[in-house]
């Protein structure tokens, strides 16, 4: 029963938080798209295709943010054996994988008019591709065991090992000369980007974050319910009622 103490509290909390995040997602996304399409200027070099940035950059941020969250949740689950942390890590992986995929696809769409090619094998693109494979490996390993706790442990260790990729992604544009441009928003001397472009970017990032939180609430809730169903089945199998 001690096992369910926290999940119960968690269920109550997320029941209220879930719809809040959903509303925030819709609101921020609507505003963000409006600003991105009508308020921000077209680039003098890149033309209208610069607007891909408003999806690409937040998606790439989220790809990293989700992985960091997953690593933290996995570590908490591994060290303190916290059941909700395991579920949160598991629930984060597909969302992170989807954002990584989105970042790769939008980057490719942006790269065609910009660089004249869909894909280049530079450090940033390659390391993000590795990130995508790490997400897939995590998901596959998590579901490869008959005992869900073993899947959670094994995949948590994989997530921790894969964390060495994070600094490589972050600094790949600084360490190697690549086609990919370096960061212009997160800088010590303030953002090197005009507010008319910064605002839609931040709005979209907010929308994506809220979307993640919303899906996280939903997925962890459904995992907890699935867990209860399994426990009931087990009781039936052993004939205790």
């Amino acid at each position: 029963m001690q096992y369910f103490a926290n999940p119960t509290r968690f269920m109550k909390l997320t029941q209220r938080l879930g719809p809040l995040f959903a509303a925030a997602t819709v609101l921020l996304f609507g505003l963000g798209v409006y600003f991105a399409l009508f308020f921000s200027p077209a680039d003098y070099q890149q033309g209208e295709s610069v607007r891909i940035m408003y999806v690409h950059v937040p998606a790439a941020w989220m790809a990293l943010f989700c992985y960091i969250s997953m690593v933290i949740a996995a570590a908490v689950g591994l060290i303190w054996k916290h059941p909700v942390a395991d579920l949160a890590a598991k629930a984060t992986a597909p969302v992170g994988a989807a954002f990584t995929f989105l970042a790769l696809v939008t980057g490719s769409l942006w790269g065609k008019p910009m660089w004249g090619t869909w894909w280049v094998w530079d450090a940033r693109l390659t390391s993000v591709l590795v990130l995508f494979f790490l997400y897939l490996g995590y998901i596959a390993l998590n579901s490869a065991f008959d005992d869900p706790t073993r899947g959670a442990r094994a995949s948590a260790i994989l997530a921790l090992v894969g964390a060495v990729n994070l600094p490589i992604i972050k600094f790949s544009v600084d360490w190697w000369n690549t086609l990919h441009q370096p960061s212009s928003v997160v800088r010590l001397d303030g953002p090197a980007i005009h507010p008319s472009m910064l605002w839609p970017l931040l709005l979209m990032a907010g929308a994506f974050t809220c979307y993640y939180m919303w899906v996280l609430c939903l997925r962890v809730r459904s995992e907890i319910i699935a867990h209860k169903v399994r426990a009931l089945r087990l009781r039936q199998a052993h004939g205790w009622e």
Binding site: L78, T126, V130, F133, L134, L136, G137, A140, L141, A144, F145, D146, R150, R153, A154, I157, L158, L160, V161, G162, V164, I168
Partner: protein, 222 residues
């Protein structure tokens, strides 16, 4: 501790020699995979010379992964792993010795055979030493990184395919610098910076991999 390590390595090497063809198979796969390429891309010597380093490295990667599946699996199945964990030796040391034995029996042969393959792929002679040096630094890293994956998939369904999905992405840095070192040497540039990078990767995996594998083994046996 040193005595235990020697005993552990000796046993694994003896096992590898007695039961099998495991290490021979890895070498045979390596040679065969490399030999396939001239048929795939055509026998044009210049093209082969240009891509020789890449072919050899990718084949070495796959060959080392092939033999990794058995690294802990056999001991896991017959109960030896349980007993090994219960010996008064730190598990990290145990993992390191098993990886070392694995490298001796399946990584080192690749390093030895590689120049022969470079020869038939028409690689520039300047690249030969760089190739051997790069493989000498790279294959232990592959064994170390692979050990983490091999420990993680113990007891899972579809272990082999899963192992490649987990491990191949992590092999990419070794591949990049390994090929870069050989290419640099073959074109008359210094291979040293790339080899230093590979030594760095080896050191990092020497520190991280035994620790992660030990954690994975512990949870596999719980």
């Amino acid at each position: 501790m040193l005595r235990s390590a020697v005993i552990l390595v000796r046993r694994d090497v003896r096992l590898a020699f007695r039961q099998g063809m495991d290490s021979l198979m890895a070498v045979a796969f390596f040679v065969l995979a490399v030999v396939l390429f001239p048929f795939g891309v055509g026998p044009e010597p210049n093209i082969l010379a240009r891509i020789a380093a890449g072919i050899i490295w990718v084949s070495a990667l796959l060959a080392s992964m092939l033999s990794l599946e058995r690294l802990f699996q056999a001991d896991y199945e017959d109960g030896s792993l349980e007993l090994l964990v219960l010996q008064p030796i730190p598990l990290e040391v145990l993992v390191a010795t098993k990886v070392f034995a694995h490298w001796l029996t399946s990584g080192l042969p690749l390093v030895v055979v590689a120049p022969l393959l470079a020869l038939i792929l028409n690689m520039a002679p300047e690249g030969f030493w760089a190739l051997m040096a790069a493989l000498a630094f790279g294959t232990p890293s592959l064994s170390l990184i692979g050990a983490v994956g091999a420990a993680l998939v113990l007891g899972s369904r579809r272990g082999g395919v899963l192992l490649s999905l987990l491990i191949l992405p992590l092999y990419i840095p070794v591949l990049i610098f390994g090929v870069a070192a050989v290419d640099a040497a073959a074109e008359g540039f210094a291979a040293k910076p790339h080899l230093m990078m590979m030594a760095g990767i080896l050191l990092a995996s020497l520190v991280l991999a035994p620790w992660a594998s030990a954690a994975a083994l512990r949870q596999a046996l719980e």
